[in-house]
Amino acid sequence: MKSDIILAGVGGQGILSIAATIGMAAVDNDLHLKQAEVHGMSQRGGDVQSHLRVSSKTIASDLIPRGKADLILSVEPMESLRYLPYLSSQGWLVTNTTPFVNIDNYPEMDEVLAKIKEQPRHIAIDADKIAAEIGSKRSSNIVMLGAASLFIDIAFEALEKGINTIFERKGQKVVDLNVEALRAGRKAAEAIKAQLN
């Protein structure tokens, strides 16, 4: 298997927790993994991305070449579009629809959503709403991971286990909420994908 994933968002939105969860699951399954993160200045509200590569074979580059990503997983709608040059012609774009507006010139939401809908293979869900419904607003990143899990060739149970490991030190309640968020995200994406088919 091979999954080249661009994780996208804004500094502080928790894409590193997504990366860490997939990373744990990959290592547990004896898969090769390389995950390039952005630390430092951009984490202060700037656009951030992580290149996450999982493969059953040795991985050469820490960065995904443009045009080679199998998946863009974005926790913010405008940010999902910033990395289109990386997406392969067969790749999926999976994004949250709740914007993170911290700039004055944020584009019109209708136009952003229209652009996302133009993409041949996309799943757009309101992860913030789903996270709020299960009573864990801060878990919208994990909702998005759940949605994207449809397109990542790692057993769903392994991701659940990854959540357990990553959030363990924050207590069982946080673990449970995030597992619920993961499942809710997957369910939402499954529903949309079923309609597409």
Binding site: H39, Q43, G45, G46, A60, S61, D104, E108
Partner: protein
Amino acid sequence: MQKLLLLGDEAIAQGAIDAGMSGVYAYPGTPSTEITEYIQGSKIAKERNLHSKWSSNEKTAMESALGMCYAGKRSMTCMKHVGLNVAADAFINAAITGVNGGFVVVVADDPSMHSSQNEQDSRVYGKFAMIPILEPVNQQEAYDMAYTAFDLSEKHNVPVMIRLTTRLAHSRAGVVRKPLLEERETSLPKDPTQFVLLPSIARRNYKSLLSTRPDLEKVSMESEYNQYIDGTDRSVGIVACGLAYNYLMENFQDRELKHPVLKLSQYPMPRKAVERMIEECDEIVVLEDGYPVIEELLKGYQEAGTPVKGRLDGTLPRDGELSPNNVAAAFGLSYEEGADVPDLVEARPPAMCKGCGHIDAYQALNIALEQYGPGRVFADIGCYTLGALPPYNAVNSCVDMGASITMAKGAADAGLLPAVAVIGDSTFTHSGMTGLLDAVNEKTPITVIVSDNYTTGMTGGQDSQALGHLEAIIEGIGVDPEHIRVFKPTAANLDEMVNIIKEEFAYEGVSVIIPRRQCIQTMRNKSLVQKVKELGL
């Protein structure tokens, strides 16, 4: 053996711990910070009581590490590339003293300037100091190199540099550990004059350093980190330094690579391998992240002999980091790229956090400066540098650690009044104190704003050496206590802040204004909150 999932930075930290290192000394700086943070959180490091507390700056860190090496223990110092400028005096001279315990200098470069003001290549410094440089290709090699670098240092009596770049420093992959070694016992250098760099002794030591050259080249030739992979198509030979080797191989996953490749991860260059490539290949392409260091070396000034291609002739971009794509382009390999970025996507620059105290301080400063016009605020390195961006447009310089105070001084000397410096508490103790002394000695009319948030914010909230004694330091340097003004920067205090700043503009001497409020990113750091409480701040 169980693989650990580690950042390149963390792999270096784990490698050093396992090699029996007794202490790390560092000042935070992206992308090097996580090395020291990993050691601070390591169980083994705690059990062994390894030194890992932050230093005031890279120079004090380098010198403390050298002192530990003098005392016979293995020591390490870590910094970002520009940090090595601060520590350069100690660094170059440590090559002349040589070592007792193994001494490793880790420098994380930042090509493409993700979080930096330049993209200088630390290999130039390593060459300048004439010491071995290790440049890991991946996380495992980063671990292995940190593990073996101390041996190399002790065996050849030189400091060893490990150079990595952002993409490896901040990329995670599986790493297999080696056995944990014992720390070394404390011991004095065999020759009591070794570290006394009086001219007569320095000349002797320098000759000794020069004499290591052939040995180091031989070690590079035999190093497992350097490999000559022969190929049938000798029209082109490829030298791939450090991480660049990955980008090369990424492009040959589904294609056969027929050209000879020199994977180069240990310097000085393995002379015989390079000579072989020059002799056997029609031309050479050099792939290196950073400056065209090896390319220039191979090319020489006269450009005679085998043609060398790389960043200098446009085969690769002259600046910015390498990527799988620009390496592909260098070999004329094309790919189907994804769609363009839609026009509606706007830039999202980093910004100060909502509720940050720096913002309130800038709002007051901007109002106080209205009557004087723009162009008179010299800032420094930290979150507050973001005050240069809209909507604040509050600062006019950001050059190097500490430069705010001294540049304000020079501008005031030139008649630009009022001249204002803006510096954070941690940057002030890093490199601001000496400049303040210059201004105090000449009673230069400058207004220094030390925006105090009790932490080193931009790098993620590390300890600030100023905590608990900022006013004492400033008073000790000689600033009149009446002109050290402390207030809490909040929207409610705006008028008071503006008045204080205006009053100090009117004073014809050195004023230090301290807007003081805890960094909101550190509010969950219980021990810091407790400490601030205990200090009564």
